[in-house]
Every structure is written in structure tokens, then in C-alpha cells.
Symmetry: C2
Subunit: 367 residues, 2 copies
């Protein structure tokens, strides 16, 4: 693997000093910001995440803040998910689509108040789309990127650790809800959410100068829980079927192709810019869709381009994420497969960089 060249453009985070002190070995770049990918090894990080608790620098989940009288209207223009019943204190996973129904991002919308929202984004400059729409439609709303850097606490001991630092009230936070807490005079929302299936929280740090103080406080409080610096783990997230924008789907895909139809209320999401384009696919269903796929054989390299999925000599799909799972003893993978070959149990072949491999479509993700 090659090295990554440091520059200001690949932004450091309020927690970078902690990440470096913990011995980060590799990064990816996400929203033009450093996101750690490996500390000890993907496998060691994976086992630790499933058994203990980790602190994750996910500052790269930048926020797009909408503030003003038209904030709610603008938010609904962005997504086919019906937001009318959403209350302050709730988080919604919202596909964001353009006028053709193509996905521009798959963020979490955080409703702070009727006239104030954060969109906690995946890897694309969603800020620019939202600013362009707000400007073009002359909406009465401020759109910018605030000083907010999420720090995730993930793993089976996450609740105990966060309760030790913020008090027992964190135990009352329900999944995809948030509540407000204080840390050394800083008000911050804490949500029960995160990019793993091991449970945990995302702490939205609202003052970058406080980042390392909170990092250190969590590390100190977790000393007797074997707390470690960690990061989203490629094996664990594929086992859990957590999609990655830019890997598993792009602007070429509709939410329905991504299996996100349950987050689309296309009939009632009045005002959504992509609504007309999505109405037909919402009714008739997509012709290709994301599926869990098991790949057999020797350990494969990372997926850095879409691997063709073949039925004989016909290309019927592609693999976009894959990793060898120590717990399941196979390669867990995410792929997009055509309707003719997407039924569970269908046997296919994947053209990997190491040659063709047998594969099978699964009924469900692993965890």
C-alpha cells in the first residue's frame, strides 16, 4: 500500500492528536478530512470492537446546518422520506436525491428545532447542493458547515462508558434519538447511533477546542474497560449491511436500488425535488438491487474498483465492498445484482483481481 501525503486540504480534526498518539496505521479521506481506518489490524480492531468499547474520530461526518423559517421546507425538498411527523430530538436516516432520483448522499438528519437542522453527511459536498437549491429557490434559510465534530463511542460497553462521563441519563436515550448534555460548560447533543452494529453513541462536539479534553476524559474513564481508539471497521460494517456512499452506491443509483425503499415515502413527500423521477420506480420496483453476497476461497485484496459479478459469460452485477470475516469464515460482501439473479441462493461468479471466485446471494446480512 502507498503512503498518504499530508496537506492542509486533507483536514485534520479536533481529535487528530489522540488518534496519532494511539498509533493510527492508515487513513482514508472522507469529506476532505482524515478518517482513520486501521489501528492494530483490521482483524484485531474488529475483535476488539465486538467485545469492548472504542472511541472513534468521525469528525469527517461533517454537518450541514439549516437554520431559519424555511429550514424544514428545504429539508423536505432534499429527501423522499416524509418528515412531517419528525420531532425535535429525533434522527432520521434520509436518502438525498437529485431531480433524477439519483443519490447524492445518505446522511442522518438531526432535527434540533422546527427551524434548525443538522445533516450529518456521508462522503460528498452535500453543502454545495443544499446551498445551490436554497439560493435558486430563494429560500429564507442559512446554510453552512458549523464547528461540529462527531466523536463516536461504539461497542458493547459503550453505554457504561458514556454514562460514566455524562451521567446515567444517557441510558434513557432511545435508538436514533438524541438529548442534550454538558461537558465542561459546552452544550452538546448525544445520539444513540453510529456506523456499527455493536451499539453506542455519537457525541456531537460543538467546540473544536474541547475535542481532546473529551477524548482524554473518555479514555481515562474507560481505562478499566480496555477502551481503545478505533474506527469504522470494514469487516464489521459489511457483516451488518451498513452501506457506504461512494462504495456501494453513487449518484447513478436510486434509493430503491440501494434497498432503501423503506425510507422513501414518495407519494407523500410533497416538495421533494426527486419525487417525480422516483414515483415510477417506487411503484414498479428497481431492476437491480443491493444484496449480501458470500464469496468463497482464499483471502482477497481490498475492493478498489467494482468487481464484475457473472452468470456464465453475462455480467449481472458488481461487488463494491468485501472482506474476509474471521467470525463467519467466508468473505462477506456487498454487491448490486440484477433482478434476474438476485434471489437468495443464486450461485454466481465474481471476477476478482485474483481470478474468478464462486459466490452466492444470501437472504440477509450476517449481523
Amino acid at each position: 500500500m502507498a503512503l498518504i501525503s499530508p496537506s492542509r486540504r486533507l483536514r485534520r480534526t479536533p481529535f487528530s492528536k489522540g488518534v496519532e498518539a494511539a498509533g493510527v496505521k492508515s487513513y482514508t479521506v472522507y469529506n476532505r478530512m482524515l478518517l482513520p481506518t486501521v489501528f492494530e489490524s483490521p482483524e484485531a480492531d474488529y475483535h476488539h470492537l465486538k467485545n469492548h468499547v472504542q472511541i472513534w474520530d468521525v469528525s469527517c461526518e461533517r454537518q450541514v446546518e439549516l437554520r431559519g423559517p424555511d429550514a424544514g421546507r428545504l429539508m423536505q425538498m432534499l429527501t423522499p422520506r416524509d418528515l412531517r411527523r419528525m420531532l425535535p430530538g429525533q434522527c432520521y436516516y434520509v436518502p438525498i436525491v437529485d431531480e433524477t432520483g439519483g443519490m447524492l448522499n445518505d446522511p442522518v438528519a438531526v432535527k434540533l428545532a422546527e427551524d434548525r437542522w443538522w445533516i450529518s453527511i456521508a462522503d460528498s459536498d452535500l453543502l454545495l447542493w443544499v446551498k445551490g437549491i436554497a439560493n435558486g429557490y430563494r429560500l429564507d434559510v442559512l446554510v453552512d458547515e458549523p464547528d461540529v465534530s462527531p466523536l463516536a463511542v461504539q461497542g458493547p460497553k459503550a453505554e457504561d462508558l458514556v454514562a460514566k462521563v455524562f451521567g446515567p441519563r444517557v441510558r434513557d436515550i432511545r435508538f436514533f434519538r438524541f438529548d442534550w448534555f454538558q461537558f465542561q460548560g459546552m452544550d452538546l447533543p448525544i445520539a444513540r447511533s453510529g456506523y456499527s452494529k455493536q451499539g453506542g453513541f455519537e457525541i456531537y462536539v460543538t467546540d473544536k477546542r474541547m475535542g481532546m479534553k473529551l477524548w482524554d476524559a473518555l479514555m481515562e474513564a474507560g481505562a478499566d474497560m480496555d477502551v481503545r481508539a478505533g474506527c469504522p471497521n470494514v469487516i464489521e460494517r459489511i457483516e451488518g449491511g451498513l452501506l457506504s456512499y461512494g462504495n456501494d452506491m453513487t449518484e447513478d443509483n436510486t434509493p430503491h436500488e440501494c434497498g432503501l425503499g423503506r425510507f422513501c415515502d414518495t407519494a407523500t413527500a410533497i416538495g421533494c425535488i426527486g419525487r417525480d423521477a422516483l414515483l415510477r420506480v417506487a411503484k414498479e420496483g428497481p431492476v437491480q438491487q443491493i444484496r449480501p453476497i458470500e464469496i468463497h476461497g482464499e483471502k482477497l485484496p481490498p475492493v478498489d474498483y467494482a468487481w464484475p459479478v457473472m452468470a456464465g459469460t453475462i455480467r449481472v452485477g458488481q461487488i463494491t465492498s468485501a472482506a474476509y470475516s474471521p467470525d463467519f469464515g467466508v468473505h462477506v460482501a456487498i454487491g448490486m445484482v440484477k433482478i434476474t439473479h438476485w434471489d437468495a441462493g443464486t450461485e454466481l461468479e465474481v471476477n476478482t483481481p485474483d481470478g474468478p471466485r464462486k459466490a452466492v446471494v444470501r437472504e440477509a446480512f450476517w449481523a
Copy 2:
């Protein structure tokens, strides 16, 4: 330095196989695509670039294509540069600004025809801003990212090499103009441009399947010129005063702060979205501006955050790019300095990660 984790999201390019075969040592990520940063070493790459000819994979300069009756109107909405006299066959460096005059990108606009433009972008998803504006203003224009991957040929022998492959007509291309050529049946524009001061061309490869064929043809034709795989060189680009969006300026800066006032015709750029916001700064001038700065002393690490520039105990600016120049025997640097301290000859101090360093504001860049 840490490693970079491969994934489909950090897109490979049509030339990646050539880059890897040439022994690339490190990358940055630019527009969610791999951009090589070092082959032999920054210094060896630098000397070679200044004396010979290099082939650069700059596919990460993605294109935003505007096509349709409103393409020209939309292009003018994006920039304060007056485009009325621009002809097909010309390239213009165009600051792109939002409604507050903040820079969203500093691309090169390529006018293919009255109703067809490419915007060859720096590192931000400008596509999303342009799509949002086109949608909000209901313009009659298609906006997308076409299959176009620029390959640059840079260095003093660039003209000889490109003429060997495409014929002597390339010698007639004037600076920031382009003309159409053929390569194995593929039509492609070649512009006299590039992100170095050593002269050369950018070849807009219009079919990704042809990428390696062209790469190999250039390598073969240049065998007797010591042609090598190369990349934008941090030392050479700072010497030449070539700014880097995301490093030297961000959306917080106006074009005037970036010394790009000569590309702003704010009075006559009717329709530019940021025009109102820029009128005052265009008249009165900015209160801080980019300056060439010489930093003294031992070799410094790469700039991965803005280094404070001090006058005594007062912060008067920041360094955003710096590198030790073998040819000039000092650290060449780019910084943003307040009006009170920006005169050439002003002596300042820079707070680097290695401690304070003496520095001086220069009259002009080095090359």
C-alpha cells in the same frame, strides 16, 4: 507517514495501472480520486520536472459539463469573470463564488461551443453547486460529469513529446487555448496548460478505455527524452505561485483575498451570483491577501494545518503551503497576510510544528 486504505470510493483512474507500474510512492485524494504525489522523492521529481518531461495522471481534475441553450448563462452565473468575449477554443481560469463571494472552486473553464462547456475543477464537488443552481433557476441545461480524464505532459521537453505523438500542429496551440486531435479514432481536445511553470499540455482523454493506450504511446515516444511518470510537485508549484484550493484558500476567502482580482470583472459580470457581495471588496480591496513568504532555517515538515504568522504576539496571518526549495535554498511558502503586514520585506515569525521561524514577505513568487 501513514498508509492510505484502498476503496472504490477513492476512485482509481484510467491511468492507475501506469502509475503503479512506475512505482508511485504516495497519493493524495482529490475529488474523491487518487492523485499521485511522489514517485522517486519530492526533490528528485522536482529536478526531473524542471529538466525533462513528465506524464501526469491528473484525472482528478474532473469535468463538470454544461450543455444546452442556457449553458453560457449558467457559466456566467458561477463566476465574476466576464465571459462575453470568450471564444470556443479558449480556456479561462475562473474563480467560482457563492452568493457571499466566497470561493467554491478555482477551475479552468473550457469553452467547447456556445452551448457546451467543461469546467475542469479543483478539489470540491462543484457539480453539486452547479446542479443545484441549474435546478433552482429552472435553466434549460444538462449538468453532469462526463467520461473525461485529463493527462498532463509537463516539462521543457513537453512540446517535443506531444508533437511526436499528435503531430506538429500541437506546436501552434497558444497558452490557455486548445485544439482538437485524434488518437486511435478518439477525438480529444489538447490544451496548452497545466499545473506547473515548466510548460506543457493537458490532454482531455474522452474514453477511459483508451487511457493506458495513450499513456503507453507517450512513454514509448519519450523513451529517448528520459520521460517519466510524474505528478504536480509541491516545491515547484509553490515557487511558481500556483495556488491550491483547499490549501491556500477555501470558501472563507474572496477571490480578491487570493490575489485573483484580475480575474474578476465584477462591474460587468452581469448575472454572477456573488456579484453584489463582491462589489464592495472589488472597489475597496481586501484586508488580507495571499503573499509569497520565505521561511528560514532547518527543513520543516509538510503543512497539514494553517501555521500562524506572527508579528510579535499578534497573529497577522497564516502559512498554508511550504516546502524547502533546492534551487533557491530556502523554504518557499504561500500565506495569507493582513494588510498591515503584507508589504514586501516585512519581517515576521511563523509558528511551525518545529517551533518559531523567521520569515519575510516577498515581492513576487520565485518562478
